[in-house]
Amino acid sequence: MSTASVAAGGTSGIAVSRTRQNQLLRSLKRDPWASVSLLFLLAVVLAAILSPVLVPDTINSPSFGSRLLPPLTDGHIAGTDQLGRDVWGRMLLGARISMTVGFLTVVLSALIGVPIGMLAGYYGGWLDVLLMRLVDVQLAFPFILLALTINAILGLGLRNIIITLVIAGWIEYARIARGETLVVREREFVQAAHLTGARSGRIFLRHILPNIITPLIVISTLQVARFIIAEASISFLGFGVQPPTPAWGSMVSEGLDYIFSAWWLITLPGLALALVALAVNITGDWLRDTLDPRIRT
């Protein structure tokens, strides 16, 4: 973030966002990969939204006459599975699940994690101690194992998988918001706002949040990819979304039984997953480079 936009950050949010928009558009023109990735993601989101219209209701009913057809036969672009169901249609429905999980988990984790992290960073005290201990525990605990355990206890299904990922994922936001707040807290404009008697809510929303939002946005894009892959891995392991509802991860694991006869069942849903994750990461890298040249990982 440039010094100019930092200085403006506390006072005028509108001017900053307009400059930022121009900055984003200009850098998008220079980065063809980011443009392609964004367009691709847009297409996937659109497909996810429209999938109930695009895909007939009968998609999950078996049709044993057309079992395991390879791609591009009888109008099945991506072939059919062991029950004769159209793989392409199921992949479109799977996009809906992946996108819902990616979007909701990131928004919910941020909504929970960021306020807690800001409070801990600003006030310190017992909340800070508790948060840092939680961070330690979370670091000592494989994320996927935590997610699986919560999922096994709460029960399976899309709603619970989102809850699971939020429980496992909010700490990351809290950790980053805390660290950034610790730095911003010491800046003159925050001190000044405090001294002039601004209410705490105002200090948090108008002075601290605008100045810590950039790393949070960058982290969010990376988290989207992480959460989507986590959901797919959990579904692959047999937890999470249950059949016949198609999720990309469970489609791969169901296809694994037919690895000797039907390559498309395991390759195509996984490819969709990898492409989405790749596009999200490329977009995230581009956002990071454009918004915040300070961060280099």
Partner: protein
């Protein structure tokens, strides 16, 4: 130094204690814990009997104290499926996981670091492009799918290697490569960026100006300084490998701790799950401690304690 190690061990124990507490309360928060421990088809009267036997009728504080007291002695209860101590079931899978994780770590270190160095010293070359491509793909490709792809190619199509199980050397190749892939990408990425940083430093120019050979400059000056961040990363990386193993072991039916945990979760065998959780947390804490100690050794500026 000794105080530091003891302190770190103590905080590691606190973390494990907190992890156990979290699992204990998560199991209780789910409503009726007996439903989690009893087999699906248990009748009502049997449920009461199990509830009594497992102490779920006791006050929560008593249950917690008993649970912790047993856990400290390594007793996490009996597996509901196999009718023997849960810790035993998990411990006998430990060697398989250590073998797989260890090999994966060796692969990622010995591929990722040279790749990162090549990419930094030949900035903009083909090597650089390859390393960056691997780093980008490694971040995006889900581990389980990479495993499935490798299986499809090398086990099914080419028939060079077995699809799953544990046995000879040929069995470990595919899972180890799959597990190491993400790690390799991260090592290549980190080595590249730290080496680029180090190569731009003044002391590097001095070393070259003194007329030292390229090899000496690279090994004695650049790599030694870059190694500090690599060591820190290895502590974290071991944790990530453990996490990856949970999924990859399932793909290749590798009989390690990850697979036994996933199976236990699917079978709702929570005694085994808890034993595994503690063991995972312990491995992770230990790995980070070793990384910290090595860090102090590689970088004398860091005072431990």
């Amino acid at each position: 130094m000794k105080g530091y190690v003891l302190g770190r061990l103590a905080s590691g124990l606190i973390v494990i204690f907190l992890a156990l507490t979290a699992v204990f309360f998560m199991l209780r928060l789910s409503g009726d814990p007996v439903l989690l421990f009893a087999p699906m088809d248990t009748s009502r009267t049997n449920l009461e009997e199990i509830r009594e036997r497992m102490g779920f009728n006791e006050p929560l504080a008593v249950q917690y104290a008993t649970f912790m007291g047993d856990a400290i002695q390594g007793d996490f209860g009996e597996s509901t499926r196999e009718r023997r101590p849960a810790i035993e079931i998990v411990l006998e899978r430990l060697p398989a996981t250590l073998q797989l994780g260890g090999l994966a770590l060796v692969i990622s270190l010995s591929v990722g670091i040279p790749l990162g160095i090549l990419s930094a010293t030949h900035h903009g070359s083909v090597w650089d492009k390859v390393a960056r491509l691997i780093a980008v793909l490694g971040q995006a490709i889900p581990g389980f799918w990479l495993g499935v792809l490798l299986m499809l190619l090398f086990a099914v199509q080419l028939n060079w290697l077995p699809t799953s199980g544990r046995g000879g050397v040929q069995h470990i190749i595919l899972p180890a490569i799959t597990l190491s892939a993400l790690s390799t990408a991260r090592y290549a990425r980190l080595t590249r960026s730290t080496m680029l940083d180090v190569l731009g430093q003044d002391y590097m120019r001095t070393a070259k100006a003194k007329g030292l050979s390229n090899g000496t400059v690279l090994w004695r000056h650049a790599l030694k300084n870059a190694s500090i961040s690599l060591i820190t990363m290895t502590g974290l990386e071991i944790g990530r490998l453990i996490e990856g193993a949970v999924v990859i072991e399932q793909v290749f039916a590798w009989p390690g701790m990850g697979r036994v945990t996933v199976q236990a979760l699917l079978n709702r065998d929570f005694a085994v799950v808890m034993a595994a959780v503690v063991l995972f947390a312990a491995m992770y804490t230990l790995a980070n401690l070793v990384a910290d100690l090595t860090y102090g050794w590689a970088n004398p500026q860091v005072k431990l304690g």
